[in-house]
Symmetry: C2
């Protein structure tokens, strides 16, 4: 059986993760990376690199294009644009703009007879799937999502923009007592501050006013003001040595009840502990690239989310193998 050929658009941490994730599968192979950079300057783990300007020359040469750009500026235009000519999968994660993005990709993908799967990864993605299962099975109940412990790129960037800061890493940390209350079936109402802590490791310029930096971080609206935040000043070497990874993870819980009067309690919990956020996100993208290819072969077109895709489509095994081996 011929392998599913994957194109990769963009080669940052996520694109590299996709290259490695495809190599880890039994039924897929990397066709090549498409980049806005000069191809010769892009160092992959082995994949060929082409200029994004040439991509239409490769129409029909590979099966699915995995989009590895960012949600702020890349994906809102790239996913609809490339869905006209290729089956695509993206990790669009701006929750509030998902309906609009879905509509745009749906229109473009249908015009080209392609499949476009959006918002794949772990949140949105596997976490969304678990929120859906939880609230569908236990309609009487409460859902909770906690993130972390993990690095927030956005919050780390926000600290780096402060005058006097050389580099920074911010961890989002779920508050154990809040998790414990949910697990105990107490269905608490949790404020933003009660769910997560923010822990910051900051490298300051020589002679910088650390008290001022710390205050600027802790009072920064949207990013830190609504949280209990701790700031640790460390040197650059320590930052690189101890905070060089991009771990993440989190928890989705559904605490619900059944019975004649809700007297029976149940707890559903899904959690992830990831040493590398981009490598795991890439692994989910690649599994859904498999689904995109199969949906397309089955004559489908348009936009899909994780909710619209039968789970069997993401497995390298056949439905009959799945029933026999893991059902």
């Amino acid at each position: 059986m011929s392998k599913i050929k994957i194109g990769i658009l963009g080669y940052g941490n996520l694109g590299r993760g996709v290259e490695l994730a495809v190599r880890n599968t039994s039924d897929m192979e990397v066709f090549g990376v498409f980049s806005r950079r000069e191809p010769a300057s892009v160092k992959t783990c082995g994949a060929s690199v082409y200029s994004i300007d040439e991509i239409l020359n490769f129409k029909g040469k590979f099966d699915v294009l995995v989009l590895c750009g960012g949600s702020a500026t890349d994906l809102p235009t790239q996913t609809p644009e490339f869905a006209k000519n290729f089956c695509v999968v993206d990790s669009f994660d701006t929750h509030a703009k998902i309906p609009e993005h879905f509509a745009n990709v749906d229109k473009a993908a249908k015009s080209g007879g392609n499949v476009g799967i959006i918002a794949i990864g772990w949140d949105p993605g596997l976490f969304s799937l678990n929120r859906l299962v939880g609230e569908s099975v236990l309609e009487s109940g409460e859902s909770y999502t906690f993130w972390g412990k993990g690095v927030s790129q956005g919050h780390s960037d926000a600290i780096r923009r402060i005058k006097g800061v050389v580099d920074a890493r911010q961890y989002t940390v779920p508050i154990e007592s809040a998790l414990a209350s949910v697990r105990a079936g107490e269905n608490p109402n949790l404020s933003t501050r009660e769910k997560h802590l923010r822990e910051c490791f900051v490298v300051a310029e020589d002679g910088a006013d650390k008290a001022k930096i710390e205050n600027e971080i802790k009072t920064m609206p949207n990013y830190f003001a609504d949280y209990d935040t701790t700031v640790h000043f460390i040197d650059l070497e320590t930052l690189k040595r101890e905070h060089g990874g991009i771990p993440h993870g989190g928890f989705v819980l559904r605490s619900g009840s059944t019975g004649e009067n809700g007297e029976t309690k149940h707890l559903i919990e899904f959690s992830l502990k990831l040493d590398s956020n981009p490598e795991f996100t890439a692994s989910v993208l690649v599994a859904y690239a498999r689904a995109a290819h199969r949906l397309h072969k089955d004559g489908k077109s348009g936009a899909f989310s994780i909710f619209d895709i039968a789970p069997a489509l993401i497995s390298p095994k056949t439905p009959s193998e799945l029933r026999k081996e893991i059902l």
Copy 2:
């Protein structure tokens, strides 16, 4: 919008759970219970009761029949039989016979133009779904399923069959150190004995030889011989007071790696903590009854497992609401 009408076949713990679960939904209603017993003798929580012999008179009067019999003798014949005339959902859980059962239901359901969803609940069911997601996303890795702490009906029954035993309750208990090893990414090879303990609460007849009963339990092949088993003798009142519930639960874990040489570790964990095994199983059955109805309205027929069903189909919300609210 008219509500989805649910028929319930069989009224034990599971049938009662389905009646209550349907009442908990916003878009479904109980049409009635069909029983092999004299209808007047069946005490429901409000649902009408009909004789199973009359069921064909109600063809077309309700949308989905939820089968609440046992996997040993009821479902292997009932699910194919009723799939000829009704859309059905069952909780068939004899893992080794699933392929055969699927084939039988597929043939019968297709002959009647109906949808038959099999092996729904939590294992098989939600646990299967998580095994699939885990191994599809992290192809390099190991999967682990632990059950409990919870009551095993089969093991409790096995103890009750021993001479001198009045009543008994058996708990399956996952071994914490094994779970900890999996969570630590050690990918251990675990024997049966290393994964679960069996804890038994036994009421003996007056004057019975307790040492003999304990020995018979601990050496019983298949059920107990391969496990570390503890036996507690208690009186009947204590059994009823402290062990009257049917709690269960468990864990599905996928410990896998990504990266150039598997150097990056990830852990996916799904767990359930259920105060009532039958009420929770019933809640899953009812969510998939919703899917059966929608698949049928969409012109589909034949057998389906949890792997074949797009998650959106189990939610009372529309795909557009789901994208907006929880994706």
